[in-house]
Protein backbone atom coordinates (compact mmCIF):
# COMPACT_ATOMS: atom_id res chain seq x y z
CA UNK A 1 0.00 0.00 0.00
CA UNK A 2 1.28 3.45 -0.84
CA UNK A 3 1.75 5.55 2.24
CA UNK A 4 0.32 9.05 2.39
CA UNK A 5 2.86 11.84 2.54
CA UNK A 6 2.78 13.36 6.02
CA UNK A 7 2.38 16.92 4.77
CA UNK A 8 -1.04 16.27 3.32
CA UNK A 9 -2.35 15.15 6.68
CA UNK A 10 -2.96 17.69 9.42
CA UNK A 11 -1.58 16.97 12.86
CA UNK A 12 -4.83 15.65 14.22
CA UNK A 13 -5.46 13.58 11.12
CA UNK A 14 -2.06 12.03 11.54
CA UNK A 15 -2.72 11.24 15.17
CA UNK A 16 -6.10 9.76 14.39
CA UNK A 17 -4.56 7.47 11.80
CA UNK A 18 -1.71 6.53 14.10
CA UNK A 19 -4.04 5.89 16.98
CA UNK A 20 -6.27 3.73 14.83
CA UNK A 21 -3.26 1.60 14.01
CA UNK A 22 -1.97 1.40 17.53
CA UNK A 23 -5.04 1.17 19.70
CA UNK A 24 -6.86 -2.03 20.24
CA UNK A 25 -10.16 -0.25 20.27
CA UNK A 26 -13.62 -1.62 20.34
CA UNK A 27 -15.70 -0.17 17.53
CA UNK A 28 -19.00 1.07 18.94
CA UNK A 29 -22.07 -0.19 17.24
CA UNK A 30 -23.47 2.44 14.93
CA UNK A 31 -26.88 0.86 15.07
CA UNK A 32 -27.21 1.54 18.77
CA UNK A 33 -25.62 4.96 19.09
CA UNK A 34 -26.17 6.07 22.65
CA UNK A 35 -27.16 9.63 23.45
CA UNK A 36 -24.45 12.06 24.42
CA UNK A 37 -23.97 12.38 28.17
CA UNK A 38 -25.43 15.45 29.83
CA UNK A 39 -24.50 17.27 32.98
CA UNK A 40 -26.69 19.49 35.13
CA UNK A 41 -26.20 23.22 35.53
CA UNK A 42 -26.05 23.39 39.33
CA UNK A 43 -28.04 26.61 39.69
CA UNK A 44 -31.15 25.16 38.01
CA UNK A 45 -30.64 21.45 37.40
CA UNK A 46 -31.16 21.92 33.64
CA UNK A 47 -28.90 19.57 31.73
CA UNK A 48 -26.57 20.32 28.81
CA UNK A 49 -24.62 17.91 26.56
CA UNK A 50 -21.16 17.38 27.97
CA UNK A 51 -19.41 18.19 24.69
CA UNK A 52 -20.14 21.56 23.12
CA UNK A 53 -18.44 23.57 20.43
CA UNK A 54 -16.05 26.51 20.63
CA UNK A 55 -15.54 28.96 17.79
CA UNK A 56 -12.14 30.63 18.33
CA UNK A 57 -10.49 30.91 14.89
CA UNK A 58 -12.57 28.10 13.40
CA UNK A 59 -15.73 30.12 12.74
CA UNK A 60 -13.99 33.39 11.83
CA UNK A 61 -14.24 33.05 8.05
CA UNK A 62 -15.65 36.45 7.12
CA UNK A 63 -18.17 36.49 4.29
CA UNK A 64 -16.50 33.96 2.02
CA UNK A 65 -19.37 31.75 0.78
CA UNK A 66 -17.25 28.61 0.36
CA UNK A 67 -15.83 28.75 3.85
CA UNK A 68 -19.23 29.62 5.30
CA UNK A 69 -20.75 26.60 3.59
CA UNK A 70 -18.01 24.42 5.09
CA UNK A 71 -18.68 25.79 8.58
CA UNK A 72 -22.41 25.30 8.10
CA UNK A 73 -21.72 21.59 7.64
CA UNK A 74 -19.82 21.52 10.91
CA UNK A 75 -22.64 23.24 12.80
CA UNK A 76 -25.18 20.95 11.15
CA UNK A 77 -23.16 17.89 12.17
CA UNK A 78 -22.92 19.28 15.71
CA UNK A 79 -26.69 19.27 16.08
CA UNK A 80 -27.05 15.93 14.27
CA UNK A 81 -24.70 14.48 16.87
CA UNK A 82 -26.82 15.81 19.73
CA UNK A 83 -24.74 18.89 20.50
CA UNK A 84 -26.10 21.84 22.44
CA UNK A 85 -23.69 24.52 23.60
CA UNK A 86 -22.02 26.77 21.05
CA UNK A 87 -19.70 29.34 22.53
CA UNK A 88 -18.38 32.49 20.89
CA UNK A 89 -17.27 36.05 21.57
CA UNK A 90 -17.14 39.44 19.87
CA UNK A 91 -13.38 39.03 20.12
CA UNK A 92 -13.50 36.22 17.56
CA UNK A 93 -13.91 38.42 14.48
CA UNK A 94 -16.79 37.28 12.30
CA UNK A 95 -17.49 34.10 14.31
CA UNK A 96 -20.76 35.28 15.81
CA UNK A 97 -22.03 36.33 12.41
CA UNK A 98 -21.00 33.03 10.84
CA UNK A 99 -22.70 31.08 13.63
CA UNK A 100 -25.86 33.16 13.17
CA UNK A 101 -25.72 32.53 9.43
CA UNK A 102 -25.43 28.78 10.05
CA UNK A 103 -28.19 28.67 12.66
CA UNK A 104 -30.57 30.40 10.26
CA UNK A 105 -30.03 27.63 7.72
CA UNK A 106 -30.32 24.65 10.05
CA UNK A 107 -33.74 23.30 10.98
CA UNK A 108 -32.84 21.17 14.03
CA UNK A 109 -31.41 23.74 16.44
CA UNK A 110 -33.86 23.08 19.28
CA UNK A 111 -31.01 21.86 21.49
CA UNK A 112 -29.01 25.05 20.96
CA UNK A 113 -27.52 26.48 24.11
CA UNK A 114 -26.33 29.86 22.84
CA UNK A 115 -23.35 31.17 24.77
CA UNK A 116 -21.41 34.28 23.96
CA UNK A 117 -19.46 36.95 25.78
CA UNK A 118 -19.13 40.64 26.41
CA UNK A 119 -15.61 41.93 25.89
CA UNK A 120 -15.23 45.65 26.08
CA UNK A 121 -14.59 48.51 28.45
CA UNK A 122 -17.52 50.39 30.05
CA UNK A 123 -21.08 49.38 30.75
CA UNK A 124 -22.43 51.44 27.87
CA UNK A 125 -20.15 49.80 25.33
CA UNK A 126 -20.99 46.41 26.82
CA UNK A 127 -24.71 46.93 26.32
CA UNK A 128 -24.08 47.98 22.75
CA UNK A 129 -21.85 45.00 22.10
CA UNK A 130 -24.27 42.50 23.61
CA UNK A 131 -27.18 43.95 21.65
CA UNK A 132 -25.08 43.52 18.53
CA UNK A 133 -24.49 39.86 19.45
CA UNK A 134 -28.26 39.25 19.50
CA UNK A 135 -28.40 40.54 15.91
CA UNK A 136 -25.39 38.55 14.77
CA UNK A 137 -26.60 35.27 16.26
CA UNK A 138 -30.20 36.06 15.20
CA UNK A 139 -31.53 34.98 18.61
CA UNK A 140 -33.97 36.73 20.92
CA UNK A 141 -32.39 35.39 24.07
CA UNK A 142 -28.98 34.10 25.03
CA UNK A 143 -28.80 31.02 27.22
CA UNK A 144 -25.51 32.22 28.60
CA UNK A 145 -23.76 35.59 28.51
CA UNK A 146 -20.24 35.59 29.91
CA UNK A 147 -17.86 38.37 30.82
CA UNK A 148 -14.81 37.67 28.67
CA UNK A 149 -11.47 37.58 30.48
CA UNK A 150 -12.95 39.61 33.34
CA UNK A 151 -12.82 42.81 31.27
CA UNK A 152 -14.66 45.54 33.22
CA UNK A 153 -16.53 42.71 34.93
CA UNK A 154 -18.21 44.74 37.65
CA UNK A 155 -19.90 47.05 35.15
CA UNK A 156 -21.06 44.20 32.91
CA UNK A 157 -22.22 42.07 35.82
CA UNK A 158 -24.59 44.86 36.84
CA UNK A 159 -26.11 44.85 33.35
CA UNK A 160 -26.30 41.08 33.19
CA UNK A 161 -28.05 40.72 36.52
CA UNK A 162 -30.72 43.12 35.24
CA UNK A 163 -30.98 41.29 31.93
CA UNK A 164 -31.30 37.96 33.70
CA UNK A 165 -34.26 39.35 35.64
CA UNK A 166 -35.78 40.55 32.38
CA UNK A 167 -35.21 37.18 30.71
CA UNK A 168 -32.85 38.44 28.01
CA UNK A 169 -30.20 36.03 29.25
CA UNK A 170 -30.83 32.83 31.17
CA UNK A 171 -27.46 32.36 32.80
CA UNK A 172 -24.50 34.59 33.63
CA UNK A 173 -20.86 33.61 33.54
CA UNK A 174 -17.29 34.83 33.73
CA UNK A 175 -14.36 33.52 31.68
CA UNK A 176 -10.61 33.66 31.73
CA UNK A 177 -7.86 32.43 29.45
CA UNK A 178 -5.20 29.95 30.37
CA UNK A 179 -3.40 30.81 33.59
CA UNK A 180 -4.64 34.38 33.72
CA UNK A 181 -6.29 35.96 36.72
CA UNK A 182 -7.35 32.72 38.38
CA UNK A 183 -7.24 34.46 41.76
CA UNK A 184 -9.60 37.20 40.60
CA UNK A 185 -11.94 34.64 39.09
CA UNK A 186 -11.95 32.64 42.32
CA UNK A 187 -12.87 35.78 44.25
CA UNK A 188 -15.80 36.45 41.91
CA UNK A 189 -16.93 32.84 42.27
CA UNK A 190 -16.93 33.23 46.04
CA UNK A 191 -18.78 36.51 46.20
CA UNK A 192 -21.00 37.00 43.13
CA UNK A 193 -24.15 35.20 41.98
CA UNK A 194 -22.86 33.69 38.74
CA UNK A 195 -24.08 30.49 37.10
CA UNK A 196 -21.08 29.60 34.94
CA UNK A 197 -17.33 29.97 34.79
CA UNK A 198 -15.15 29.20 31.81
CA UNK A 199 -11.44 28.53 31.91
CA UNK A 200 -8.71 26.35 30.43
CA UNK A 201 -8.20 22.78 31.53
CA UNK A 202 -6.50 19.94 29.72
CA UNK A 203 -4.04 17.12 30.37
CA UNK A 204 -1.10 19.53 30.45
CA UNK A 205 -2.66 22.72 31.87
CA UNK A 206 -4.10 21.45 35.14
CA UNK A 207 -3.80 24.51 37.41
CA UNK A 208 -7.58 24.63 37.60
CA UNK A 209 -7.55 21.42 39.66
CA UNK A 210 -6.05 23.30 42.59
CA UNK A 211 -8.69 25.95 43.21
CA UNK A 212 -11.16 26.68 40.43
CA UNK A 213 -12.62 23.22 39.85
CA UNK A 214 -13.11 22.36 43.56
CA UNK A 215 -14.48 25.85 44.19
CA UNK A 216 -16.98 25.55 41.36
CA UNK A 217 -18.17 22.25 42.80
CA UNK A 218 -18.45 23.72 46.27
CA UNK A 219 -20.26 26.87 45.12
CA UNK A 220 -22.59 25.11 42.67
CA UNK A 221 -21.24 26.86 39.58
CA UNK A 222 -21.28 25.23 36.15
CA UNK A 223 -17.90 24.87 34.45
CA UNK A 224 -17.13 25.26 30.75
CA UNK A 225 -13.68 24.11 29.70
CA UNK A 226 -11.92 25.83 26.84
CA UNK A 227 -8.77 24.64 25.05
CA UNK A 228 -9.27 20.96 25.95
CA UNK A 229 -6.60 20.15 23.35
CA UNK A 230 -4.39 23.06 24.39
CA UNK A 231 -5.18 24.66 21.03
CA UNK A 232 -3.77 21.69 19.23
CA UNK A 233 -0.65 21.70 21.37
CA UNK A 234 -1.46 18.28 22.78
CA UNK A 235 -1.55 16.82 19.28
CA UNK A 236 1.85 18.35 18.56
CA UNK A 237 3.26 17.11 21.83
CA UNK A 238 2.18 13.52 21.46
CA UNK A 239 2.64 13.20 17.75
CA UNK A 240 4.12 9.81 16.91
CA UNK A 241 3.39 8.51 20.41
CA UNK A 242 1.20 5.42 20.71
CA UNK A 243 -2.18 5.49 22.35
CA UNK A 244 -2.06 2.94 25.19
CA UNK A 245 -3.69 -0.41 24.56
CA UNK A 246 -5.82 0.02 27.66
CA UNK A 247 -7.44 3.15 26.10
CA UNK A 248 -10.01 0.77 24.65
CA UNK A 249 -11.29 0.21 28.19
CA UNK A 250 -12.70 3.74 28.08
CA UNK A 251 -13.71 3.52 24.42
CA UNK A 252 -10.92 5.78 23.18
CA UNK A 253 -10.18 5.38 19.52
CA UNK A 254 -7.96 8.40 19.12
CA UNK A 255 -5.80 10.83 21.03
CA UNK A 256 -8.52 13.45 20.65
CA UNK A 257 -10.94 11.22 22.56
CA UNK A 258 -8.28 10.39 25.12
CA UNK A 259 -7.64 14.10 25.80
CA UNK A 260 -11.31 15.03 25.77
CA UNK A 261 -12.49 12.20 27.98
CA UNK A 262 -9.94 13.21 30.58
CA UNK A 263 -11.41 16.72 30.67
CA UNK A 264 -15.10 15.87 30.66
CA UNK A 265 -14.70 13.12 33.23
CA UNK A 266 -13.73 15.61 35.91
CA UNK A 267 -16.74 15.69 38.22
CA UNK A 268 -16.84 19.49 38.36
CA UNK A 269 -16.89 19.94 34.59
CA UNK A 270 -20.23 20.67 32.96
CA UNK A 271 -19.18 20.99 29.33
CA UNK A 272 -16.03 21.16 27.21
CA UNK A 273 -15.98 23.22 24.03
CA UNK A 274 -13.42 21.95 21.50
CA UNK A 275 -13.35 23.91 18.26
CA UNK A 276 -12.92 22.39 14.83
CA UNK A 277 -13.35 23.15 11.15
CA UNK A 278 -13.88 19.51 10.19
CA UNK A 279 -16.98 17.37 10.36
CA UNK A 280 -15.02 14.16 10.99
CA UNK A 281 -13.20 15.74 13.92
CA UNK A 282 -16.46 17.06 15.29
CA UNK A 283 -18.02 13.59 15.15
CA UNK A 284 -14.96 12.18 16.87
CA UNK A 285 -15.28 14.78 19.64
CA UNK A 286 -18.97 14.15 20.12
CA UNK A 287 -18.38 10.40 20.27
CA UNK A 288 -16.16 10.99 23.30
CA UNK A 289 -19.21 12.25 25.15
CA UNK A 290 -21.41 9.28 24.40
CA UNK A 291 -19.15 6.45 25.46
CA UNK A 292 -17.55 5.30 28.70
CA UNK A 293 -15.75 7.94 30.75
CA UNK A 294 -12.74 7.25 32.96
CA UNK A 295 -13.17 7.00 36.71
CA UNK A 296 -10.69 8.62 39.10
CA UNK A 297 -8.30 5.65 39.00
CA UNK A 298 -8.31 5.62 35.22
CA UNK A 299 -7.81 9.41 35.13
CA UNK A 300 -4.72 9.00 37.29
CA UNK A 301 -3.50 6.24 34.97
CA UNK A 302 -4.05 8.48 31.94
CA UNK A 303 -1.97 11.21 33.57
CA UNK A 304 0.80 8.81 34.47
CA UNK A 305 0.93 7.60 30.91
CA UNK A 306 1.09 11.12 29.49
CA UNK A 307 3.72 12.18 32.01
CA UNK A 308 5.86 9.19 31.14
CA UNK A 309 5.86 9.93 27.40
Amino acid sequence: MRSLPIDILDRRGFLTSAAACCAVAATPSLAATPAIAKRPIPSTGEVVPIVGMGSWITMNVGDDPTLRAARLKVVQAFFDEGGGMIDSSPMYGSSEEVIGHSLAKIPNTKQLFAATKVWTLSQWMGVRQMNNSFDLWRVKRFDLMQIHNLVDWEAHLETLLEWKQEGRVRYIGVTTSHGRRHDDLAEIMKTRPIDFVQFTYNMIDREAEDVLLPLAKERGIAVIINRPFQRGGLFDEFKNKPLPNWASAIDCQSWAQFFLKFVISHPAVTCAIPATTRVDHLRENMAAGRSKLPDSDMRARMLRYIDAL
Binding site: I57, G62, D64, L67, M91, G93, S177, R231
Partner: protein, 214 residues
Protein backbone atom coordinates in the same frame (compact mmCIF):
# COMPACT_ATOMS: atom_id res chain seq x y z
CA UNK B 1 1.50 37.23 26.92
CA UNK B 2 0.28 34.59 24.49
CA UNK B 3 0.48 36.26 21.06
CA UNK B 4 -1.81 33.54 19.76
CA UNK B 5 -4.62 35.29 21.64
CA UNK B 6 -4.32 38.22 19.23
CA UNK B 7 -4.77 36.30 16.00
CA UNK B 8 -8.35 35.08 15.73
CA UNK B 9 -8.08 33.73 12.17
CA UNK B 10 -6.28 30.94 10.36
CA UNK B 11 -3.80 31.11 7.50
CA UNK B 12 -6.43 29.73 5.15
CA UNK B 13 -8.92 32.45 6.09
CA UNK B 14 -6.31 35.21 5.91
CA UNK B 15 -5.16 34.20 2.43
CA UNK B 16 -8.75 33.93 1.34
CA UNK B 17 -9.34 37.45 2.66
CA UNK B 18 -6.34 38.84 0.77
CA UNK B 19 -7.49 37.07 -2.39
CA UNK B 20 -10.92 38.65 -2.05
CA UNK B 21 -9.40 42.07 -1.38
CA UNK B 22 -7.10 41.71 -4.38
CA UNK B 23 -10.06 40.81 -6.58
CA UNK B 24 -11.99 43.80 -5.27
CA UNK B 25 -9.22 46.27 -6.09
CA UNK B 26 -7.98 44.78 -9.33
CA UNK B 27 -6.63 46.39 -11.59
CA UNK B 28 -5.40 49.02 -9.11
CA UNK B 29 -2.39 46.72 -8.63
CA UNK B 30 -1.04 47.75 -12.01
CA UNK B 31 -1.21 51.41 -11.03
CA UNK B 32 0.49 50.91 -7.66
CA UNK B 33 3.21 48.76 -9.19
CA UNK B 34 3.84 51.43 -11.83
CA UNK B 35 3.97 54.10 -9.15
CA UNK B 36 6.44 51.96 -7.23
CA UNK B 37 8.65 51.73 -10.31
CA UNK B 38 8.19 55.49 -10.72
CA UNK B 39 9.73 55.97 -7.27
CA UNK B 40 12.88 54.25 -8.49
CA UNK B 41 12.87 56.39 -11.64
CA UNK B 42 12.41 59.60 -9.66
CA UNK B 43 15.25 58.77 -7.32
CA UNK B 44 17.57 58.12 -10.24
CA UNK B 45 16.30 61.12 -12.24
CA UNK B 46 15.21 63.66 -9.63
CA UNK B 47 12.93 66.40 -10.87
CA UNK B 48 12.10 69.64 -9.09
CA UNK B 49 8.70 69.59 -10.76
CA UNK B 50 7.71 66.19 -9.35
CA UNK B 51 9.46 66.60 -6.02
CA UNK B 52 6.33 66.16 -3.92
CA UNK B 53 4.89 63.30 -5.95
CA UNK B 54 6.69 60.38 -4.24
CA UNK B 55 5.55 61.52 -0.80
CA UNK B 56 2.03 62.00 -2.11
CA UNK B 57 2.00 58.48 -3.53
CA UNK B 58 3.37 56.87 -0.37
CA UNK B 59 0.97 58.88 1.81
CA UNK B 60 -1.98 57.95 -0.36
CA UNK B 61 -1.36 54.22 -0.16
CA UNK B 62 -0.89 54.37 3.63
CA UNK B 63 -4.22 56.14 4.00
CA UNK B 64 -5.84 53.85 1.45
CA UNK B 65 -4.68 50.73 3.28
CA UNK B 66 -5.71 52.23 6.63
CA UNK B 67 -9.23 52.98 5.43
CA UNK B 68 -9.83 50.23 2.89
CA UNK B 69 -7.79 47.23 3.94
CA UNK B 70 -7.88 47.58 7.72
CA UNK B 71 -10.93 49.74 8.44
CA UNK B 72 -13.48 48.54 5.91
CA UNK B 73 -12.46 44.93 5.40
CA UNK B 74 -9.96 43.33 7.76
CA UNK B 75 -11.77 44.65 10.83
CA UNK B 76 -14.45 42.00 10.25
CA UNK B 77 -11.86 39.30 10.91
CA UNK B 78 -9.78 40.98 13.58
CA UNK B 79 -10.79 43.62 16.13
CA UNK B 80 -7.18 44.86 16.27
CA UNK B 81 -7.47 46.00 12.65
CA UNK B 82 -8.98 49.25 13.93
CA UNK B 83 -5.71 50.06 15.67
CA UNK B 84 -3.75 49.35 12.51
CA UNK B 85 -6.20 51.48 10.53
CA UNK B 86 -5.57 54.37 12.89
CA UNK B 87 -1.78 54.08 12.63
CA UNK B 88 -1.81 53.73 8.85
CA UNK B 89 -3.96 56.83 8.46
CA UNK B 90 -1.75 58.69 10.95
CA UNK B 91 1.38 57.74 9.00
CA UNK B 92 -0.31 58.88 5.78
CA UNK B 93 -1.19 62.20 7.37
CA UNK B 94 2.39 62.67 8.61
CA UNK B 95 3.72 61.94 5.12
CA UNK B 96 1.32 64.48 3.63
CA UNK B 97 2.39 67.11 6.12
CA UNK B 98 6.15 66.57 5.86
CA UNK B 99 6.42 65.56 2.22
CA UNK B 100 3.61 67.33 0.41
CA UNK B 101 2.83 70.43 2.46
CA UNK B 102 6.37 71.15 3.68
CA UNK B 103 8.15 69.53 0.74
CA UNK B 104 10.84 67.90 2.88
CA UNK B 105 10.84 64.45 1.30
CA UNK B 106 12.24 65.01 -2.18
CA UNK B 107 14.25 62.06 -3.51
CA UNK B 108 17.90 61.98 -4.39
CA UNK B 109 20.27 59.12 -5.19
CA UNK B 110 23.79 59.86 -3.98
CA UNK B 111 25.29 56.41 -4.49
CA UNK B 112 25.69 55.96 -0.75
CA UNK B 113 25.00 52.75 1.15
CA UNK B 114 21.78 54.32 2.35
CA UNK B 115 20.64 55.03 -1.21
CA UNK B 116 21.50 51.56 -2.46
CA UNK B 117 19.75 50.00 0.51
CA UNK B 118 16.69 52.08 -0.39
CA UNK B 119 16.76 50.83 -3.98
CA UNK B 120 17.08 47.24 -2.77
CA UNK B 121 14.09 47.71 -0.46
CA UNK B 122 12.00 49.18 -3.25
CA UNK B 123 12.82 46.33 -5.61
CA UNK B 124 12.13 43.87 -2.82
CA UNK B 125 8.74 45.46 -2.11
CA UNK B 126 7.75 45.48 -5.78
CA UNK B 127 9.07 42.09 -6.85
CA UNK B 128 11.02 40.01 -4.34
CA UNK B 129 8.52 40.02 -1.48
CA UNK B 130 5.58 38.95 -3.68
CA UNK B 131 7.69 36.24 -5.29
CA UNK B 132 8.87 35.07 -1.88
CA UNK B 133 5.26 34.89 -0.77
CA UNK B 134 4.37 32.89 -3.85
CA UNK B 135 7.27 30.56 -3.24
CA UNK B 136 6.08 29.95 0.32
CA UNK B 137 2.59 28.99 -0.75
CA UNK B 138 0.56 32.18 -0.76
CA UNK B 139 -0.99 31.51 -4.14
CA UNK B 140 -1.38 33.94 -7.02
CA UNK B 141 -4.81 35.20 -5.98
CA UNK B 142 -3.49 36.33 -2.59
CA UNK B 143 -0.20 37.73 -3.85
CA UNK B 144 0.82 40.74 -1.74
CA UNK B 145 1.16 43.82 -3.94
CA UNK B 146 2.84 47.08 -2.99
CA UNK B 147 0.37 49.85 -2.30
CA UNK B 148 -2.51 47.40 -1.93
CA UNK B 149 -1.67 45.42 1.21
CA UNK B 150 0.41 46.43 4.24
CA UNK B 151 3.50 44.19 4.06
CA UNK B 152 5.15 45.33 0.83
CA UNK B 153 3.94 48.90 1.47
CA UNK B 154 5.83 49.04 4.75
CA UNK B 155 8.87 47.69 2.93
CA UNK B 156 8.51 50.28 0.17
CA UNK B 157 8.24 53.03 2.77
CA UNK B 158 11.57 52.03 4.29
CA UNK B 159 13.08 52.27 0.82
CA UNK B 160 11.50 55.68 0.32
CA UNK B 161 12.75 57.01 3.67
CA UNK B 162 16.28 55.88 2.82
CA UNK B 163 16.30 57.78 -0.46
CA UNK B 164 15.11 61.21 0.56
CA UNK B 165 17.58 64.02 -0.06
CA UNK B 166 17.41 65.15 3.57
CA UNK B 167 17.10 62.91 6.60
CA UNK B 168 13.38 62.41 7.25
CA UNK B 169 11.95 63.30 10.67
CA UNK B 170 12.32 60.34 13.02
CA UNK B 171 8.58 60.42 13.66
CA UNK B 172 8.12 59.06 10.15
CA UNK B 173 10.07 55.91 10.99
CA UNK B 174 8.18 55.01 14.14
CA UNK B 175 4.99 53.56 12.65
CA UNK B 176 6.74 51.66 9.80
CA UNK B 177 9.11 50.24 12.42
CA UNK B 178 6.30 49.03 14.68
CA UNK B 179 4.20 47.77 11.79
CA UNK B 180 7.12 45.76 10.43
CA UNK B 181 7.32 43.82 13.69
CA UNK B 182 3.57 43.44 14.13
CA UNK B 183 3.21 42.21 10.56
CA UNK B 184 6.03 39.74 10.96
CA UNK B 185 4.71 38.43 14.28
CA UNK B 186 1.25 37.90 12.81
CA UNK B 187 2.70 36.32 9.68
CA UNK B 188 4.89 34.00 11.71
CA UNK B 189 2.00 32.91 13.93
CA UNK B 190 -0.22 31.92 11.02
CA UNK B 191 2.56 30.53 8.85
CA UNK B 192 3.58 33.26 6.41
CA UNK B 193 7.39 33.22 6.61
CA UNK B 194 7.87 35.85 3.87
CA UNK B 195 6.76 38.47 6.40
CA UNK B 196 10.04 37.98 8.27
CA UNK B 197 11.56 40.24 5.63
CA UNK B 198 9.73 43.16 7.27
CA UNK B 199 11.55 43.42 10.62
CA UNK B 200 14.80 42.66 8.85
CA UNK B 201 14.20 45.69 6.63
CA UNK B 202 13.19 47.82 9.61
CA UNK B 203 16.37 46.96 11.50
CA UNK B 204 18.65 47.30 8.48
CA UNK B 205 16.89 50.50 7.38
CA UNK B 206 16.68 52.31 10.67
CA UNK B 207 20.39 52.78 11.18
CA UNK B 208 21.10 54.49 7.82
CA UNK B 209 18.08 56.74 8.39
CA UNK B 210 19.34 57.74 11.84
CA UNK B 211 22.97 58.06 10.76
CA UNK B 212 22.35 60.34 7.79
CA UNK B 213 23.17 64.00 8.13
CA UNK B 214 20.21 66.32 8.07
Amino acid sequence: MDLGNLIPFSREVFLDFVAQYNALLWPAHIATLMLGVMLIYLVLRPSKRWERLPALFVATVWIGIGVGYFGLHFSSLNWAAWLSAFFFILQGALLVWVGVVRNRLGLEFDGSLSGWTGIVFLVTAIAVYPLLSLATGTGLAAIPTVGIVPGPTVLMTWGFLLMTAARPPLALTLIPFIMAFIGAAAGWLIGLPADLVLPLAAIVGLWPVLARRR
